[in-house]
Symmetry: C2
Subunit: 187 residues, 2 copies
DNA sequence: AGCATAAAAGCAAATTATTTGCTTTTAGCG
DNA sequence: CGCTAAAAGCAAATAATTTGCTTTTATGCT
């Protein structure tokens, strides 16, 4: 009896996943959201709809899966010399990317899925970025606020406003960053 | 030519809306989420599916519409004598309600809808609750932080953690409230 | 009050999406 | 080099959604 655990890289399973993901991205870029259906994605990817339904369950799970991949950071936060300016630069870029049309749609897709693991992953992507900035600060011997303080003080307000109200402006982001820098080192 | 603007209270339109909303709530309480379909809601409400599709567009918009109604606060925040304890009591209840299974589902429904107005409304419900607490503080002659400071410092972190990670615990909420109370009166 | 009108609901056929049972392909294993 | 289990294809069956047309109904006007 041959027992396996997960799909191996390069196998058929991985190829289907790749072509479906690519098809979704292509279609999202060229069509209205409501026009992007499972049968359309299947045709674009060269697979049958039942393959998609069996692997992902429904359109929302697939969209969430694709969105998580696209939200994965592809760069290390820039090193500007200090925790404060690193965080400021990162937060400005984060706010801008997430406020954009595509950014908002990806967040929506992730949150709309039944499976909450995508949202958790995205949160961790962000946390890791901040941890990177924090580790550099530590190496420099700087004082810097706790990562969770930054999540609460900078990330959460940016995301809350993108999701529930108008996008935060640059001045607002700046204020959030400054306030979290002022947090006491050890509460 | 008879010209009208919107549906009048008590008209047929309002009755259909009421029975559909009620049907959705009944079904959400008794069925798995994926089992709640437009045809099922229509049958429960005693209307035809096409009525629902024409009025709401799709299931998600309808669920969002119902969720917004359910998220509308039905009580004024309790008056405990000071801004700090009012806010603490309110935040604890808010975190608990929103972290619950039904609370999380309602938020998800609101955010998943294409029409972003539901999220905006929910944000305003919350803002109004905090404004009520702030107005009472003003009448007492207390100092208190700006409402937007509370939105950023208390509401946003609670909501962010509910949406993206584990629900915040009571100690965390308490810390958030204390921190926002310490904010300087005029930045 | 009674008629005219526009908005909304019902109905049913057409279309589209989803599910499912069964067959075929494929990658990895001995 | 065949065996096996997982995944994909195929196609029929089911379910959801859309749509054109008819009917109902609340309201404004005379």
């Amino acid at each position: 009896m041959a027992t396996r655990e997960g799909p191996r890289p390069g196998g058929r399973s991985a190829r289907v996943q790749a072509s479906v993901h690519k098809a979704v991205q292509t279609l999202l870029a060229t069509h209205e959201r409501t026009e992007v259906t499972v049968p359309l994605i299947a045709a674009e990817a060269g697979v049958t709809p039942s393959t998609i339904y069996r692997r992902w369950g429904d359109l929302q799970e697939l969209l969430a899966d694709v969105a998580v991949e696209r939200l994965r950071p592809d760069m290390v936060p820039v090193d500007t010399g200090s925790f404060g300016s690193d965080l400021m630069a990162w937060a400005e870029q984060y706010a801008e990317e997430m406020s954009s049309g595509p950014g908002r749609e990806m967040i929506r897709d992730v949150l709309a899925a039944q499976d909450g693991s995508g949202a958790y992953q995205c949160c961790n992507f962000t946390r890791q970025q901040i941890e990177t900035i924090a580790e550099r600060a530590e190496e420099r011997g700087e004082f810097f606020p706790d990562v969770e303080t930054v999540m609460d003080g900078v990330v959460a307000p940016i995301m809350y406003r993108i999701l529930f109200g108008g996008a935060p402006d640059a001045a607002h982001v700046e204020r959030l960053v400054r306030a979290s820098l002022a947090a006491k080192p050890a509460p």
